[in-house]
């Protein structure tokens, strides 16, 4: 139990250091095990996150910007998925705070994982949709019920003008 945890943790920590650099185009990050108390119990163990965006020095997580936080959290999730792939992953607007450059890096990371996990992504960003195999457009009918259309990428401009 404990050995399995430490092995998985080690693998995810290595992957996170890489994924973070890819998604930020630089910088560095790490995961650290912390211990409260002297026992060997798993309950006393905690996981700390250190994140240093490119060009900046190591600081408390609290100082990160909105977009940096989203990207760091996404990097950690993707690192876990690389080590322990789950069959599918549903993401609801996790790219909302990202600027255009970071949406492109987020999209590339998603692209890299799609062969091992299936993704369902709710998004307002055109950049993220570019790698989608299928697109569903949802709209509210005047009968207060949702209606759904299967869309093609080239139809988006006309059918979904609300995209950024």
């Amino acid at each position: 139990m404990r050995a399995n945890f430490e092995q998985t943790f080690g693998a995810v920590a290595r992957e996170f250091a890489l994924t973070f650099q890819i998604m930020f185009g630089g910088g560095s990050a790490s995961l650290e095990l912390t211990k409260t108390g002297d026992g060997g119990a798993l309950d006393d163990i905690g996981i700390e996150i250190n994140a240093r965006p490119p060009g900046k020095r190591q600081q408390n997580l609290a100082l990160l910007s909105g977009g940096e936080r989203s990207l760091t959290a996404a990097a950690l999730l993707f690192a876990i998925l690389k080590v322990k792939p789950t069959p599918f992953c549903v993401l609801d607007e996790v790219d909302a705070a990202l600027d255009e450059a970071n949406v492109a890096r987020f999209r590339a990371a998603l692209d890299d994982l799609r062969s091992t996990s299936q993704f369902v992504v709710v998004t307002h960003n055109r950049g993220t949709i570019e790698i989608a195999d299928s697109i569903y457009g949802v709209s509210m009918g005047d009968d207060s019920a949702s209606r759904v259309l299967s869309l093609r990428l080239d139809e988006l401009i006309t059918v979904a003008p609300h995209l950024r």
Binding site: N4, G46, D92, Q118, V122
Partner: protein, 162 residues
């Protein structure tokens, strides 16, 4: 293992039976504010056995049933079915294709099915435990939650994944 189809009928804003076909790879869901995108995410959570009202953005199970509007009557029930390709037997169910169905009526009756066989909620939760839903379904606004957790809470999340 991958999701094949999601059918939503009477759940939140999906008054009419609505079908999503998911292929391996990336499926995107887009639309204006309030159109029903997050409701689709809620439907996936719910059919996999989610019980937390907070995670479903509701206060009571009746909130999950289409409440009607000025031009359409409320629904009497909410039903969601998720069809999964299980050829690799990721789910401990002896079928290549597994359909999980969850249904609730306005009078409060709850029903659960796996490939049309009536089961209990626990059976669904146990069958889908390996899917890691606790960390692989990320609700709107919650992506950076992991950064605010205490170290011990983060470890617990990690244990689910590991």
């Amino acid at each position: 293992m991958h999701l094949k189809r999601l059918e939503i009928h009477g759940f939140k804003t999906f008054a009419s039976r609505t079908t999503f076909e998911f292929r391996p790879g990336v499926s995107a869901i887009v639309g204006p504010n309030g159109s029903g995108k997050s409701n689709v995410v809620d439907a996936i959570r719910w059919v996999l056995g989610e019980q937390s009202q907070a995670m479903l953005r509701s206060r009571k199970s009746e909130d999950l049933i289409f409440g009607g509007g000025s031009k359409r009557a409320a629904s009497g029930f909410a039903e969601v079915s998720l069809t999964i390709d299980n050829s690799d037997r990721t789910l401990p169910v002896a079928f290549d294709t597994v359909t999980i169905t969850r249904r609730v009526t306005r009078s409060g009756d709850h029903e659960y099915f796996i490939n049309r066989a009536k089961v209990r909620l626990r059976d669904i939760q146990e069958a889908t435990a390996t899917l890691g839903g606790s960390y692989t379904i990320i609700n709107q606004g919650l992506v950076d939650n992991v950064l605010d957790l205490r170290p011990e809470e983060r470890r617990r999340l990690f244990e689910d994944a590991a």
